[in-house]
Symmetry: C2
Subunit: 377 residues, 2 copies
């Protein structure tokens, strides 16, 4: 499998009061099309990754909303898979190219979250979860708190280890102009910030974010550049209660194994990765489930600085969901952009040396959907 | 292109107070899997077509909701493109098979609409339209009323001709056990029913419906059966006001031309069709845009009985959206099922003789998305 990342476009991530969802989607899309140097008219399909705008502002049918704003009448789709909407949109765009149906595809992930009151956003996000979990009064921080507690009990993972994820990702974000929170924080800051759902504090949690990320994918395999060489997704039970284990995401393991196999590489070959750190425990699970470290060792692994810039395999150089921000539909596409920039040696102050193989992991809900991509140059 | 329709499953369409969205999705899915005689474990992807359940009941992320209810952890997706969600789900499932990524794919379209108050449904459905149209206070009947009036003024189309669509489709539904309204009506009944938005009456309009439709699509091309041989989708401006013409859907023309070309057939070869008669004018536009008759002649064409059972090319033998019902996410998949049954000679009382080539046309919004499929045996 070899799909070219022909162009990328990214908006600022943050509280963007002066911009609509469509403004953001179009800014990122035009950026990606320009970057690709492909004539706009040669785009033959548009995949929009979005979770929330129907629920919080009434607008569905985003395929033709974006297509017509770009002046295109090509095929267009809106893909939804909770916080994995962007990654799934990339995966399905790839299928259209591999099928031979489409040659140049625009994928744009977008979310406009800060216009809605927090209570509405909390309700809307819980659509990613099961009706039983909603009826039980659980929120997403509460669900991930259950996972965190299980991991602490089983493996002795500490709150300081969790906080280390956040500190690292804020450091990376401090080098990223697009990030929502481009500043450093300390372990103490995380531990002493407001408790959301024990043991998760405010600074263990990714924020509410506006933003868009777009890529142009192409069937062109003749030129130099960055290629997606593996793309896989699997699902797991929507209910946490139905899982055999709370301390792993099986869908991550399955998707990672399949994507690495497609790419013909092993996890040891990965030099840089973007993973789904919606809460700090999620990055620790990702390290274990992707095979960067053994089960239970994720906390120590993060503390070892292996995944910090300068380490052997930097993780979430963008700042991750925690500090770059988490516009849910955009996240999976932004991950592809960050790895593309790293592999193109164009990541500036946060450039990973000799990055030639990278990976993204995008999660929907509490692991009910996971999408993994492998990129190579 | 040759994708096998390996199995089909359909629930009753109607006001199904005793069943949840998940009940319906699973009933149709299990039906399709059983019909396909493919082992459930061999299903490697699930595509769920749904527009509304997030907005009206809070549940998104339907891919793993359906997958985990079936006990599967394969790839799963939710596709949304307003009332074309089902057709788009079929199109994208086909891409996954053509790509070689998936071999056996379950596509399930589902909607549970009758639990919500009418006002909420009206609001939710308007997500298919543009924000300008919503701000102008337009509803879907009002948008299609504008199209109807334009067609009447330009071509002299009459209310009786519009009513003839409804009368024909109710006749077909009277032969279909799954239909929401399996009874005949008269031209007078349509003309004298409550006015919704001039000139559209209650009986010019498709109803609010609960229901699910599922197909198993397969890469197997060695055995006898029904195959999808063309699949294409295009988009148009989301705003009606931005169109050059109100009396045609350009996306229908583009999608039809491409799908016929893929299948290597012409419109004259089509022996049976399911088209998107959300309002009576929509079937008249479909006849013209698909090329069954010249522009402007759709009204007379419907009156000619060519598209009634016994005619040269029966249209909407299921009863169409008008009389079989319109659970929006399910409609595009149900169309595939009806044509499959016709081509398998298993449509019972509504069997079209010598049907060997059929077509479906599924519309999102007021033509901003159109998906066309061609099926052959």
């Amino acid at each position: 499998m070899k799909i070219k990342v022909a162009g990328v476009g990214l908006t600022k991530f943050g509280e963007l009061w002066d911009k609509s969802l469509l403004d953001l989607a179009i800014e990122a899309s035009i950026g990606a099309i320009k970057d690709s140097r492909i004539d706009k008219k040669a785009i033959d399909a548009i995949f929009v990754g979005n979770m929330l705008i129907g629920k919080i502002a009434g607008q569905d049918h985003l395929g033709p909303v974006v297509a017509s704003s770009l002046g295109l009448s090509c095929a267009s789709f809106r893909i939804e898979g909770a916080c994995a909407s962007g990654g799934l949109a990339v995966h399905l765009a790839i299928q259209g190219i591999l099928a031979g149906t489409y040659k140049n595809v625009l994928v744009v992930g977008v979310e406009k979250m800060t216009d809605a009151p927090t209570g509405q956003i909390t309700w809307a996000l819980m659509g990613a979860s099961s009706s039983k979990e909603r009826k039980a009064g659980l929120t997403f921080p509460a669900l991930y708190a259950l996972i965190t507690q299980a991991h602490m009990q089983k493996y002795g993972t500490t709150r300081k280890q969790l906080a280390a994820v956040s500190v690292k990702n804020h450091y990376h974000a401090s080098l990223n102009k697009s990030a929502q929170y481009p500043f450093e924080i300390t372990i103490e800051k995380v531990l002493n910030s407001n408790l959301i759902s024990y043991p998760i504090t405010l600074f263990d949690s990714s924020p509410i974010t506006d933003g868009a990320a777009a890529v142009v994918l192409s069937s062109d395999t003749n030129s130099k550049g960055v290629y997606i060489t593996g793309s896989a997704t699997f699902s797991d039970t929507i209910d946490l209660a139905e899982r055999d284990s709370l301390t792993e995401f099986k869908a991550t393991k399955l998707a990672c194994s399949e994507a690495l196999s497609q790419a013909g590489v092993e996890i040891q070959d990965i030099r840089v990765a973007e993973v789904h750190d919606c809460f700090t425990i999620a990055e620790i699970l990702a390290m274990e489930d992707l095979g960067f470290c053994p089960a239970g060792a994720g906390g120590k692994f993060v503390e070892s600085r292996t995944t910090r810039l300068g380490g052997k395999c930097p993780v979430n150089t963008s700042g991750g969901l925690k500090a770059c921000g988490h516009p849910v539909g955009a996240t999976g596409v932004k991950q592809i952009i960050e790895i593309t920039q790293q592999l193109k040696d164009s990541a500036g102050a946060r450039q990973v040396k000799n990055a030639n193989c990278g990976l993204t992991q995008n999660v929907g809900g509490t692991g009910a959907t996971v999408v993994v991509h492998v990129l190579q140059n």
